[in-house]
Amino acid sequence: MTEPIDTSIYSAVTAAIQTEAQRILAAGLVTAIVGYAASRRNGSTQPIIVTDAAAAEKLIFTPASVNNLALYLTKAKKEIPKKGKIGIVVKGCDLKAIVGLMGEAQLKRNDLYLIGVPCAGVLASTVQPSTALTADTIASKCTECDARLPSDCDYVPNVQLPTQPQLAGKYAVEIARLEALTPAERWAYWKEQFAKCIKCYACRQVCPFCFCEQCLCDRNKPQMVDTTPRPAGNTAWHIVRAMHLAGRCAGCAECERVCPMDIPLNLLNRKMAKELKELYDYEAGFEVNDKGPLTTYTDKDDQSFIK
């Protein structure tokens, strides 16, 4: 199954991003643009903050543009100017994070200039950045993408998305497999996964929703979560993370991408999202909601847990 995926539009997208970036920077509509630029390694990209119209030509979009740049609007925002509107290059999946952050009073729509990217998919973290995008090399999250064309952006390059081959949803398959296990088997699976954790907190640092200035896991009065990478503390950390992201995470899968121990973190998030969909018919990231399903009570809420 090495079916190729057509990414020919990306060069047109790159050109359009550059033109638009140049225009809005020159016109003073924004003070900075967060986007992707070529990196040193062959084919790889890295986030870049452009503040000068002349530097807009550095902006690109390729199958290696994997990062969720929404991160640079919250905790990593120290690097970008404090005043004025900020432009940002967003894929559909990244936009969901921005939408969520707006609902949580972390971002204001008026402070942003959204450059939406029609996206055919990006590469999995396990392959070299110069690899061609195929059904095998595509990131797992892209197999289940429902937001190839971002909506409600200030600018979206006018290109036609090519038709995509039908891809099997990798998370859906894995969730179905785990759901079929007995609770004991499932617990064994996750215990094994969490045992790998080295508590580097890369998943926390890369998550756009982990915007707390003081993570509760770093608090020591009282110590909520054991800080050393031992089974109990690891499990506590991953459960806290999954619970805190329930109803908020829209699946950019950055946690999973950066995990040095290859713990399937997004799998846990997708399972939580599935529960939320089934219980409250709620999907994160599509509209700015003042109140998510877990901070609201309605008498239609599922009560079956009360026994």
Binding site: E104, A105, Q106, F211, C212, E213, Q214, C215, L216, R219, K221, P222, Q223, M224, H244, D290, K291, T295, T296, D299
Partner: protein, 665 residues
């Protein structure tokens, strides 16, 4: 180092029967930080409390744990005692070893171990208690009363008579509510208008009452003692200051055939109107939907004939902001719509009774208007269809009420009594007529109520048939009513001239919207919920808001008046002090950790969380954080549980304390 005193109560034998209290005292006495521990038969008694006070002074105690019953029972008692001995009352905690232990266990050994652990947990918790100063909040000594029926009028008069200003807001053009519509009232048959209108006039003339009629509540902000209320005063099109109430405009208005809602739409009114002759204020209002001037731009007769020039077609709706300290909600009831299912309602209609289709099938309130001397028929009982006097009349009870399958399971409480009254009024006015009543049960608790009902049967010749009506249809000019008499076990069929349906009481339309503006809770029928069904029946769970009358549930007039006076007394209690004291068990935000996601604000049921801007010395915004208003916070702890970064702490229940309790086990 803390010097904690632990006092174990026997509660007579309630605790000591199952728990070895001496052993608990002994064990806990060994815990680090515990300086004194003892047991006593009744800690809450006078000698018990003295023992506690003496120990605090003699042993130089810094914290106190009383192991006894539920804190709901005696926390206040012991905190007071601790305060009397010179300690901050919030350095005293209770360990519940009665409800949580002795009452629910049988094995003495195990119960003793559990009691020791419960007390041990509280010892760990109290070590970390802080001295909490009582919170004081200033009180604006003005109150808002929403609804100008008998409930609102009574509450407003009581508060105003105590010397405090009242803002009375009524949606309709006149105050009076449903009681003004009634002909006579049970169980004494005195004329409703005769007892109601003097009170209405009192309201109009009272120097402490500011009356806004034809007005609605737009927005409620603030908290107990400090509410800001925005009132929308709808355009009357008549200047209240200029109008003398002469009524010439109404006699000259060419639009004369508009159904009058006050007369249940059987009487007619003009487009510029007062709903009824005794209306307060006696200032007409122009019904813009039906006024020729507003529809076509031509007419203006009322303006021409008005001597003082009070008619003002240009008048606009006004928004008025009033500051009040307390709110009494008295929005009353509405009658069940019989013929159709109201949109969005959980209640099904009663199409089978032909209301709306058969003109002589009317509801109870319409009968009141027919029987009223000021009603459309001048007090004669006449059929709406042909104006003839009905000689056979059938009353059907429990229409809508007590019918779970139709959506209402509650009893409307007043229908049994008012139907008995209707049979009497009918008998007094139509001497040769016969009244029949189909009923399920007669519910007549209340002073002189059952006697009244008996009188309708024994003296006023009403025939009561126990059973429900199965079918009702028009035949010629008669209405055939078919039903069963379950007492005898036969089918009955009555050829009636008129049928009166005793329809259920429902909350006023829009009751839910108003509740959302006020931040008070309501049940599935939209009746407002009281804070405690038995012990706090006139207060809402939201501090500073009180309930009066049928907005809380079906009520008759005496009950409504009592509740209105009770609500007024609650308002007066609040106004009796310049500063309101509140228990300081409230949440605090640790601003250093708060990232302003406002999850706490979203979950706060009391609207206590506000947004606070933190600025540097130059005035630049550093960040926006949550702020818990201690005047509003009820100390429920939901914000603490929700905060993802653990930046909210509830005093007395901090994470540190809870973890210390768990770790003591």
């Amino acid at each position: 180092m803390s010097r904690i005193g632990v006092f174990i109560c026997h509660c007579g034998e309630n605790i000591s029967r199952t728990v070895d209290v001496e052993r608990v005292a002994q064990q806990v006495g060994k815990m680090p930080g515990v300086a004194f521990s003892t047991d006593y038969k009744y800690m809450c008694s006078d000698p018990g409390q003295n023992l506690l006070k003496k120990a605090i002074q003699e042993q130089n105690l810094t914290h106190v744990v009383v192991a006894a019953c539920s804190p709901r029972m005696h926390e206040k008692t012991f905190r007071k005692a601790v305060e009397a001995a010179g300690l901050n009352p919030f350095l005293c905690e209770m360990a519940n070893i009665r409800e949580h232990c002795s009452w629910v266990h049988e094995n003495r050994e195990e119960a003793t171990v559990k009691a020791t652990e419960i007390v041990g947990m509280m010892v760990e918790r109290v070590k970390k208690n802080r001295v909490l100063p009582t919170i004081t909040v200033p009180v604006t000594k003005r109150s808002l009363v929403i609804g100008g029926g008998i409930a609102g009028i009574q509450a407003a008069l009581d508060i105003a008579d105590c010397g405090h200003e009242v803002i009375l807001v009524e949606r309709e053009p006149s105050i009076g509510g449903h009681m003004a519509q009634l002909s006579e009232t049970f169980p004494t048959l005195d004329c409703s208008q005769c007892i109601m209108t003097p009170k209405m006039v009192d309201v109009a003339n009272h120097p402490n009452i500011k009356l806004y009629t034809y007005s609605e509540i737009e927005l409620v902000e603030g908290y107990i003692g400090n509410f800001q209320v925005t009132i929308k005063k709808r355009a009357r099109s008549v200047d209240e200051d200029k109008c003398t109430g002469c009524g010439v405009c109404m006699t000259k208005c060419p639009q004369k055939k508009i159904p009058n809602k006050f007369d249940q739409n059987i009487g007619m009114r003009t487009a510029i109107y007062i709903p009824f002759p005794q209306a307060v204020p006696n200032t007409p209002v122009i019904d813009r939907e039906n006024c020729t001037m507003f529809k076509t731009g031509k007419c203006g007769v009322c303006q021409k004939v008005c001597g003082p020039g009070a008619v003002d077609f240009e008048q606009q709706d006004q928004l008025i902001i009033e500051a009040v300290g307390a709110i009494v909600v008295a929005t009353g009831f509405d009658l069940y719509t019989i013929d159709e299912k109201p949109k969005g309602s959980l209640i099904k209609g009663y199409g089978e009774f032909g209301h709306g289709k058969i003109p002589d099938v009317i509801d109870g309130m319409t009968f009141e208007r027919l029987a009223s001397a000021s009603g459309p028929t001048g007090g004669k009982i006449l059929r709406p269809s042909d104006g003839k006097e009905p000689k056979q009349i059938v009353f059907i009870q429990c229409i809508g009420s007590r019918a779970r399958e139709k959506g209402i399971s509650y009893c409307s409480k007043v229908c049994c009594m008012y139907t008995a009254k209707h049979t009497m009024l009918y008998h007094h006015k139509v001497h040769d007529g016969q009244a029949y009543v189909f009923f399920m049960d007669a519910r007549t608790p209340g002073k002189s109520y059952d006697e009244f009902w008996r009188r309708s049967i024994e003296e006023e010749e009403a025939v009561y048939i126990r059973g429900m009506v199965s079918r009702l249809y028009q035949k010629g000019d008669k209405i055939i009513v078919r039903g069963s008499d379950i007492a005898v076990g036969v089918q009955v069929e009555i050829e009636a001239d008129m049928v009166v349906l005793a329809t259920a009481i429902q909350p006023q339309k829009g009751a839910d919207t108003l509740a959302q503006k006020l931040g008070i809770s309501y049940d599935k029928y939209n009746f407002y919920s009281e804070a405690h069904a038995k012990l706090r029946p006139v207060e809402c769970a939201t501090a500073g808001i009180y309930l009066a009358g049928a907005c809380q549930g079906p009520k008759d007039i005496p009950e409504t008046v009592s509740q209105a006076s009770a609500a007024a007394a609650k308002v007066m209690t609040l106004f009796s002090k310049d500063l309101l004291e509140r228990e300081p068990i409230v949440a605090r935000v640790k601003e250093s950790g708060c990232v302003g996601c406002f999850a706490c604000k979203k979950v706060c049921a009391y609207g206590a969380v506000e947004e606070k801007e933190i600025r540097d010395r130059q005035g630049n915004l550093i960040k926006t954080v949550a702020f818990v208003n201690p005047g509003v916070c009820a100390g429920c702890g939901t914000c603490q549980a929700t905060c993802p970064s653990k930046s909210v702490e509830l005093d007395g229940y901090t994470d540190e304390q809870i973890v210390a309790m768990i770790e003591s086990l």
